[in-house]
């Protein structure tokens, strides 16, 4: 366990007692950690929302941190929970048209920055991984993805939905095994 994580535990204990200064410092440092965490796991356009969502969750659930235990596993569990939540939300909206702000301009940097997401996609069926990569990461429309892969539009939607649901299960099982 790093010294920084121990510091974070102390800062959170102070925050639980109502110390605003400690809390501000903690949230500022956690923001950076969360940006890196989600930067490796989500398309760039989704990172900010995920960071904010997690900061709010940390705030609402701060009483569940036990200062006798290390801080990092607690933080990682919440961040991973919100990550799974994002994947499930992506699966639920797979059949909807994407808004412009979801589409990513620089496709290459989008794909290479979400390294872990890319690794996880390689564990899915190729058709599912391709559909998710094109629509959810590169920002293609379902029709464009259909034209590029030869899958029908409906199949693209089904593959996105099933693939993301499977990813969420894989991450959840990985958590259980740990």
């Amino acid at each position: 366990m790093s010294a920084k994580s121990d510091d974070w535990g102390e800062l959170m204990a102070a925050a639980q007692a109502g110390h605003g200064g400690a809390y501000r410092r903690l949230l500022g440092e956690l923001r950076g950690w969360l940006e890196r965490f989600y930067g490796r796991r989500l398309p760039p356009a989704m990172v900010d929302d995920a960071v904010q969502d997690t900061l709010i969750a940390i705030h609402e659930k701060r009483h569940t941190y036990d200062s006798a235990r290390p801080f990092r596993p607690w933080l990682a569990a919440i961040a991973r929970y919100k990550w799974i939540d994002r994947l499930r939300a992506m699966a639920r909206t797979s059949s909807e048209e994407l808004s412009d702000d979801i589409a990513v301009g620089d496709h290459e940097s989008a794909v290479t920055s979400a390294v872990l997401l890319k690794q996880l996609l390689s564990r899915l069926k190729p058709a599912q991984a391709e559909a998710i990569r094109l629509v959810k990461i590169e920002g293609c429309s379902v029709e464009e993805a259909s034209a590029r892969t030869g899958q029908s539009g409906s199949l693209i939607k089904v593959n996105i939905h099933r693939g993301l649901a499977r990813l969420a299960v894989m991450i959840q099982k990985q958590t259980d095994a740990e």
């Binding site: 925050a15 639980q16 007692a17 109502g18 605003g20 809390y23 501000r24 949230l27 500022g28 923001r31 900010d48 960071v51 904010q52 900061l55 709010i56 969750a57 705030h59 609402e60 659930k61 701060r62 009483h63 569940t64 941190y65 036990d66 200062s67 235990r69 596993p73 607690w74 569990a77 919440i78 991973r80 929970y81 959840q172 958590t175 259980d176």
Partner: protein, 213 residues
């Protein structure tokens, strides 16, 4: 909203909180169990032949088994409200103990050699009443655990809901066991399993969305 603004808002909203304490939760649940058992008994519901039932192995199998399942279920559920814990492994323990108890009931039943047929032993009219009362008795623990689940931070809500349902079902059945006049292992295995299944299904259906965070 920019992250800096959000942090300002969260810091502005900061109030002291009392850290989560599992011992306090267990104490609250113990008080609730005592109140529910006492209240149920005060209604004059305790079986009149309780003294003679205490001599039978089947009664102890029933009460002891349900108490064990309730205790394991409550421990599993409470632990799962901590974001770092997953209840799936412990929930498999609950299922394992339930299976062992059913096997033990079958062995007790072999020794009893009832002259009645299986259909008669089911006593379905009484069984349906059992099912209804057992489910009602499971409501206080399921509500208490649901409040704790919502206040906690379960990261596997489906499994937490299963554990909560299992704990509440066994709890309700345990209290009901002091009223239930039957010590027939076959009757208990069928109706109590159905009752537990119903409560677990209810919990699994409702609680994941109630405890979303």
């Amino acid at each position: 909203m920019p992250n800096d603004l959000l942090i300002d808002e969260l810091v502005g909203d900061l109030r002291p909180v009392r850290p989560h304490n599992p011992v306090r939760q267990v104490a609250w649940l113990a008080v609730l169990a005592a109140l529910e058992l006492g209240g149920f008994a005060a209604l004059g519901t305790v079986r009149p032949d309780l003294a003679s039932a205490l001599d039978g192995a089947a009664f102890w199998w029933k009460v002891g088994g349900l108490a064990s399942l309730a205790a394991i279920g409550v421990a599993t559920a409470l632990r799962s409200f901590d974001p770092v814990s997953s209840p799936r492994k412990n929930f498999r323990w609950w299922i394992g103990v339930a299976a062992v108890l059913l096997a033990a009931g079958w062995l007790i039943d072999l020794g009893n050699a009832s002259p009645l047929g299986l259909a008669e032993r089911l006593q379905w009219r009484m069984g349906l009443q059992c099912l209804f009362t057992m489910t009602l008795l499971s409501l206080p623990p399921i509500l208490a655990l649901a409040i704790m689940m919502r206040r906690g931070a379960p990261t596997d809500r489906s499994a937490s809901a299963l554990a909560t349902g299992a704990a509440s079902a066994a709890w309700g059945a345990f209290i009901f066991a002091f009223h239930c006049p039957s010590d027939d292992p076959f009757y208990i295995a069928v109706w109590y399993s159905l009752g537990c299944g119903l409560v677990i299904l209810l919990s699994r259906t409702i609680l994941p969305s109630v405890a979303r965070w």
